[in-house]
C-alpha cells in the first residue's frame, strides 16, 4: 500500500502529472492576468477562454523541427534541458502537500529538505548557463553570462529570506515550518519583509520582467535559448512554468502557512496560495520596465540583501523574547 502511495506521489499528485497540468494552468492564469492588466483578452480560442493554450503551445513545440548547432557540444546540448527539467520536477516532490508526509519523516519530507529544495530550484539556472555556453552563439553566450551574473544578485537575498522562517520555527523541514505557522498564524506577520524579498527574488529566478535580463529579446534575442528549438525548447518552457508553481508553493509553505487539512482542503489551499503568489508575480511583471544588469546587481545588494538581513535580525530578536 505504501509503495502504491509513493508511486501515486511521484507520478500523479504532487508529482509529474499534477505538476504538468497545474503548471500549464498557472501559465494560463499568468497570461490571462497579464493580458487583463494590459486591457487585452489574452488567449481565447483553445479550450474555454484559451484554457488549453499553454498545452497547445507545448504540443506544437514538441512537433517542431529540432535543430542542434554544428559547433555545439551535442551531448551536453541535448542533456541540459532534460537535466534541468528533472531537477525542478524533483523539487516539486518536496512540497508538503499531502497529509501523509506531515507526521513522520519520509523520502519526500525530512530535516533539511528546505535546503535541498533551494538547491534543486537553483540548478536550472546553471543549466541555463550551460545551455547558453554550449550553444556557441554570441547571443546565447551573452545570455549565459547574464544568467550567472543575475544568479549572484538574487540568490543571496533568497537564501537569507528563507532562513528566517527556519530560524523562527527552529526546524529545517518544510512540513514543520508550515505546521508551526498554522498553529501560530500571527507569527506570519513578522515574516512579511522576508516574504516580499522572497517574491522579488523568485521573480528574478524565474527571469521575468523586470529581471528578464538574460533573455531580453530586444537585446540578446533569445538569450541562452537562442539556439534551442522544438522539443528542447518546449522542455525549457515547461520548466519555467513548473518552476513558477514550485517556487510559489515553496514561498507559500515557508511564509504563508502551508497547505493544511489533508488531501482535498490541502489541495484547495495549495491552489489558492500559489495563485496568490502568481498574482503578485504577474502584477510585478505588468507594472515595471526591464532594468539593466548593473542596476539589478546594485538593487539586490543595496536593497534586497539588507532587507533580508533586517528580517533575520527581527526574527532572531523575536526568537530570543518569544514565550
Amino acid at each position: 500500500m505504501d509503495i502504491l502511495k509513493v508511486f501515486l506521489y511521484i507520478l500523479v499528485y504532487p508529482g509529474l502529472l499534477f505538476l504538468f497540468i497545474y503548471s500549464t494552468f498557472v501559465e494560463w492564469v499568468d497570461r490571462k492576468l497579464y493580458a487583463k492588466f494590459q486591457n487585452r483578452m489574452g488567449p481565447m480560442h483553445t479550450g474555454s477562454h484559451g484554457l488549453l493554450q499553454p498545452i497547445a503551445d507545448f504540443v506544437k513545440l514538441m512537433a517542431k523541427e529540432d535543430i542542434v548547432p554544428d559547433s555545439a557540444d551535442k551531448g551536453l546540448f541535448n542533456a541540459v534541458p532534460v537535466f534541468a527539467l528533472a531537477a525542478v520536477l524533483a523539487s516539486g516532490l518536496l512540497l508538503p502537500v499531502w497529509h501523509f508526509a506531515k507526521g513522520i519523516e519520509s523520502a519526500t519530507s525530512f530535516q533539511g529538505d528546505i535546503i535541498v529544495m533551494a538547491y534543486l530550484l537553483a540548478l536550472p539556472t546553471f543549466a541555463y548557463f550551460l545551455a547558453g555556453w554550449t550553444s556557441t552563439s554570441m547571443y546565447a553566450a551573452m545570455g549565459g553570462v547574464r544568467v550567472l551574473t543575475l544568479l549572484f544578485a538574487y540568490e543571496v537575498p533568497m537564501f537569507l529570506a528563507i532562513l528566517s522562517p527556519a530560524i523562527m520555527t527552529g526546524s529545517w523541514r518544510l512540513a514543520d515550518i508550515a505546521a508551526y505557522f498554522q498553529a501560530h498564524p500571527l507569527y506570519m506577520l513578522f515574516n512579511l519583509i522576508g516574504f516580499a524579498v522572497g517574491v522579488v527574488a523568485l521573480q528574478a529566478k524565474l527571469e521575468r520582467v523586470p529581471f528578464d535580463i538574460p533573455h531580453a529579446e530586444t537585446e540578446v534575442v533569445g538569450g541562452a535559448f537562442t539556439e534551442y528549438s522544438g522539443r528542447k525548447l518546449a522542455m525549457f518552457r515547461l520548466l519555467a512554468d513548473v518552476q513558477m508553481v514550485v517556487g510559489a508553493g515553496f514561498l507559500s509553505a515557508l511564509f504563508l502557512g502551508g497547505f493544511p487539512g489533508g488531501l482535498i482542503p490541502g489541495f484547495i489551499w495549495f491552489v489558492i496560495k500559489t495563485l496568490a503568489v502568481v498574482f503578485i508575480l504577474s502584477a510585478m511583471r505588468a507594472v515595471t520596465a526591464r532594468i539593466r544588469i548593473d542596476q539589478m546587481v546594485a538593487f539586490s545588494w543595496q536593497y534586497l540583501a539588507p532587507l533580508a538581513l533586517l528580517q533575520l535580525v527581527i526574527v532572531i530578536f523575536i526568537k530570543g523574547y518569544m514565550p
Binding site: 554570441m138 547571443y139 553566450a141 523586470p210 530586444t218 520596465a289
Partner: protein, 396 residues
C-alpha cells in the same frame, strides 16, 4: 570575455525593419559600432524616373509607411511649385491637419515601441490602444489607415464634412485627456526612468556637427523645425505653433520632447478644425510640368524630409531625390551607441525613431544538404519559392 563582434540585424527582435549593425563589444560595453544599409533598397528614385507625376505621387508615398503623408506632401508641394500652382487655403489647412494627425499617430507609436524596447509592455499596450483613436480618425478622413493618399498636386483629394469635424474634435479631446495621464504614470515609474535617463547622450554641439534633425536635435536643445525655418502649407502664415525643445540630450529628453510635441500637435489640430476656411480643397493640375528644379522640405515626425525634383518638360520627372529623416540621424546614433551598454542598444536606436526606406537585393542561400553556397538572384529565388510551395501542394 574579451572583445567580440555582436551582430544586430538584419533580423533582430530589437529592429522592426532590416538594417545591420556590427557592434564591437567588450563584455557588456559597446566599444565601436558600424552600420550597413540597403536591405530595403527598392530603387524608388530610379523607378520614379520612368513613371508619370501622378503615379509617382503614390510611389513616393510608399517610401515609408509611418511618414507616408510627409513624403507625399513633400513631393506634391515641390511639383506644385514647378507647375506654378497655388492650392486653396482650405486645401492647405487639411494638408497640415493630415501632417499633424500623422505626427500624433507616429509619436504614440514611438512611445509604445520605446516602452517595448525596455520591456515595459503594459505601457506599450496602453499607448497603442490610444493610438487606435487617431488611426480611426485617419481612416475616416482618408479611407485608409496607413497610406492615406490625401495629397495631390494643387491641394488635397478629400474634403471634410461637418460630421467628420465633430468626430475629429471629440477624438482629439479624448487623446488630450489620456496622453498626459499615461505619460505621467510612465514618467513616475522608477524602472522605466532608470532605463532612459542619462542614456544615449548627444550633446548640443555634436547634434549640430553631425547634422541631427527632428526630435533628436530638439532634445539636445537645438531649436530647428522646418515648419518654422522653411514654412510650408499653412504653417507660418495661418497656423500658429510652438517648437518644443529640451536640454537633456538623452533618451528621456527625447521622450519628453515627443510628449510635449504631442500636446502641441493636439492644439494645432484643434486650431485647424475650428478655423477651417470655406471653399475648394484643390485646383486642377496640368499633366506636364515645365522644366525646372525644386528643393522641397517638410517636417516629418522624425525630422526634416527633403525631396529634390527636376523636371524636363514632359509628364515624367528627370530626377527625384528623397532623403528620409532617419538617414540624417544615423551618424549621431552611431555616436550615441559608442561607449554605452549592450542593454541600451535597442532603446538608443529606437530613440531616433528609425525608419529604413532604402533595391531588391541578391540573396545568398546555403544549401544545407550539399553544404555549398549557392548564389541566387531574385528571379531564381522567386522560382525556387514557387517550386517550394508547389511541392507542398499549394497552388500559386
Amino acid at each position: 570575455m574579451g572583445t567580440f563582434i555582436l551582430p544586430v540585424g538584419p533580423q533582430h527582435p530589437a529592429l522592426k525593419e532590416p538594417t545591420s549593425f556590427r557592434f564591437l563589444v567588450d563584455g557588456e560595453t559597446v566599444v565601436d559600432a558600424d552600420l550597413r544599409l540597403g536591405y530595403n533598397h527598392r530603387g524608388i528614385e530610379k523607378g520614379a524616373e520612368s513613371r508619370t507625376y501622378v503615379q509617382n505621387l503614390y510611389l513616393l508615398e510608399r517610401v515609408c509607411g509611418i511618414c507616408s503623408n510627409a513624403h507625399m506632401t513633400c513631393f506634391a508641394q515641390g511639383v506644385e511649385k514647378l507647375m506654378g500652382l497655388e492650392p486653396p487655403k482650405r486645401g492647405l489647412f487639411i494638408r497640415c491637419l493630415m501632417g499633424e494627425l500623422e505626427r500624433v499617430h507616429s509619436h504614440l507609436l514611438w512611445l509604445g515601441v520605446a516602452g517595448h524596447e525596455v520591456g515595459f509592455d503594459t505601457f506599450f499596450m496602453y499607448t497603442w490602444r490610444d493610438r487606435e483613436i487617431v488611426q480611426d480618425m485617419l481612416e475616416m478622413i482618408s479611407g485608409n489607415r496607413v497610406n492615406y493618399g490625401m495629397q495631390t498636386f494643387g491641394g488635397v483629394r478629400r474634403d471634410l464634412d461637418e460630421m467628420q469635424i465633430k468626430k475629429l474634435l471629440e477624438g482629439i479631446a479624448a487623446l488630450k485627456a489620456r496622453t498626459p495621464y499615461y505619460l505621467n504614470l510612465g514618467a513616475s515609474e522608477p524602472t522605466l526612468v532608470a532605463r532612459i535617463a542619462g542614456v544615449g547622450k548627444l550633446p548640443l554641439e555634436k547634434a549640430v556637427e553631425l547634422n541631427a534633425v527632428g526630435p533628436t536635435a530638439r532634445a539636445s536643445g537645438w531649436k530647428s523645425d522646418v515648419r518654422q525655418d522653411d514654412p510650408y502649407a499653412g504653417f507660418g502664415e495661418f497656423i500658429p505653433f510652438n517648437i518644443v525643445t529640451d536640454q537633456g540630450g538623452d533618451v528621456l529628453a527625447r521622450v519628453v520632447v515627443r510628449a510635449k510635441e504631442l500636446m502641441e500637435t493636439y492644439n494645432i489640430c484643434e486650431y485647424i478644425l475650428k478655423n477651417l476656411p470655406a471653399g475648394e480643397v484643390r485646383v486642377k493640375a496640368p499633366r506636364k510640368v515645365p522644366e525646372g528644379e525644386v528643393v522641397s522640405r517638410v517636417e516629418a515626425q522624425r525630422g526634416e524630409d527633403v525631396h529634390y525634383v527636376r523636371s524636363n518638360g514632359t509628364d515624367k520627372p528627370d530626377r527625384v531625390k528623397v532623403r528620409a529623416p532617419t538617414l540624417a540621424n544615423w551618424p549621431s546614433t552611431l555616436y550615441m551607441l559608442r561607449g554605452g551598454y549592450v542593454a541600451d542598444i535597442p532603446i538608443v536606436m529606437a530613440a531616433i525613431d528609425p525608419c529604413l526606406s532604402c533595391t531588391d537585393r541578391m540573396a545568398i542561400i546555403t544549401d544545407v544538404k550539399r553544404g555549398s553556397e549557392q548564389v541566387m538572384d531574385w528571379e531564381t529565388l522567386r522560382k525556387h519559392g514557387i517550386e517550394f510551395y508547389r511541392k507542398r501542394g499549394i497552388k500559386l
